[in-house]
Symmetry: C2
Subunit: 323 residues, 2 copies
């Protein structure tokens, strides 16, 4: 036993020769990622970047976890509305809310953006940030994905979780910059990705500081404050981080400007697009999809040197929750 | 020589017994700060706080550096306007801008908030964030304070700079949360306080991502986006940090809600007000001042356990730039 413990101790003391990205197959994609990281972390390289400037940003829906058949946050909103309407049917007091509570998706979608805003307002406002986040945490414990049966926070992509960890091990700071809800994502981002609340950027509604019954509180009120999508992404990064990232990853045209701004900087840069090509193990979609539509990234990305990751070809494993 | 080097090496290897706050006199204020820090960093204490949650937030104007005779950022705006009007007199095309460019403070102040907004728009917008920050950096190199003759970034408070360093040495993350301009403060915060750009929160105007002549850029456009003052401070902290601080320091009623929210949390908390009591070495002002007005903090703070720092009594030294 003692010898075994000693041997184990020696093993862990050896330099890490193990593969940092075991779920990435040995394709060009993996080689390019490693080459980029080795370039910016090598003090003797002309493109060396100090740790403080090793900023990596990633979209969430479709980049770090799945987004089909619809954004998971919408499924949360519908489940929550159903639950609220069961407790108090008067809550579903418009045609859109009635359709949503009854899972009549066709009527809901016909209502367009306005109908969705009604659903978001009914389910995401009128409570403290804390109470909202408790509701999200409760939902994540019991909700299951309609296709895979997995908990939603186990539908994160194993290769991307490995990439985040590898980057941090190499001195990067990793951020989420997503169109998804800021308060929604913060509930699982730390456990799922190792990304703490202050490194999560997202879309947010208005919030209000006020004196509650016993103590001050911050309440989610009606109204969108910031949409973290398209040109909003570089704007938000500049506001919150104050530094241009050197690596940006996304999967849809909502990420185009973020990757464009990142890769337009001086020195070594990496832009990365996760291309959903795997109808068998995940989903296959791009130009015509109602979520995660990807046209510009495919048409212009390669000419700008962006790495297009082919899920079917480049990834050995998909979900963290897979057996 | 070798023995001297060895002795020096031994000295630095010894545990740090030196005073972390040498510019704080041995008064109750210093004792309370140290007691708080020792409480939350002691794993055996019931009020122990993990490093990830050791978040400390500080106002800037009047808390970390001086703010008299007016906010330094206004002096920058006036200098910049004067310079711009010299190069192109047509810029001063309103009564308020003409008054500002001519340093006719009385006329400018009579114009109220609208006149000030005109000055900010003329001097803080219509250029990239980068170009604006270069202008601030250039100004800091040559501008001197009207009373002390010091560069503005040497009018930071030595005791507060020591406090920031002490907190970081004890595992805290230190943030600025100020009504001052986000882009303005980021220019000097890292060198002056050791606070990197992503730990600076402030007031910001609208910015726009757009394709420039050669590359994409982020431009400061007209219009206020967020006022980081009063109830806006806890709202901004919640948005950007996602965690409630355990220490908050300010000097005016604009900081009241930030300190209130911080100290209303569970466990050990420290709220701190810098009270400007030293007419001889700095300035003495509170209830009637046109900048840094302090009424609620004095009337209600002590009952909520806030520490009121008496500059004249508690500080041995004031400015970092003092001989």
């Amino acid at each position: 036993m003692r010898l075994v413990a000693l041997a184990a101790g020696l093993m862990t003391a050896l330099p890490a020769l193990a593969d940092d990205l075991p779920s990435w197959r040995d394709t060009e994609a993996k080689a390019r990622i490693i080459e980029f990281v080795e370039t910016v972390t090598d003090p003797d390289n002309a493109d060396y970047v100090t740790p403080a400037r090793r900023v990596a940003v990633f979209d969430n829906d479709g980049t770090l976890w799945a987004e089909q058949p619809v954004y998971f946050q919408l499924l949360f909103a519908l489940d929550r509305l159903e639950q609220m309407a069961e407790a108090d049917p008067s809550i579903a007091n418009t045609a859109a809310l009635q359709a949503a509570a009854a899972r009549d998706m066709q009527t809901l979608m016909e209502g367009g953006e306005e109908a969705l805003i009604e659903v978001v307002n009914a389910t995401h406002t009128g409570m403290t940030v804390e109470a909202f986040q408790d509701a999200v945490a409760d939902w994540l414990k019991v909700a299951r994905h309609p296709d895979t049966g997995l908990p939603f926070d186990r539908m994160t992509y194993q290769p991307m979780v490995e990439l985040l960890r590898y980057l941090r091990d190499e001195g990067f700071t990793t951020y989420i910059v997503s169109g998804g809800g800021l308060h929604f994502m913060r509930v699982f981002a730390e456990e799922a990705y190792g990304i703490p609340p202050n490194q999560v950027l997202g879309t947010y509604g208005e919030t209000e500081y006020r004196m509650g019954e016993a103590a001050p509180e911050i309440v989610k009120t009606t109204g969108l404050s910031f949409l973290d999508d398209k040109a909003g992404k570089p704007v938000n990064i500049e506001r919150v981080l104050g530094r241009r990232p050197i690596l940006a990853g996304g999967n849809s045209d909502g990420d185009f400007q973020m990757i464009e701004w990142t890769t337009a900087g001086d020195g070594a840069r990496l832009g990365l697009i996760v291309h959903h090509t795997d109808a068998e193990r995940e989903y296959a979609y791009d130009r015509e999809s109602h979520v995660g539509r990807l046209v510009d990234g495919l048409d212009k990305g390669p000419d700008m040197g962006w790495l297009i990751v082919d899920m079917a070809k480049d990834w050995e494993r998909i979900y963290t929750g897979q057996k």
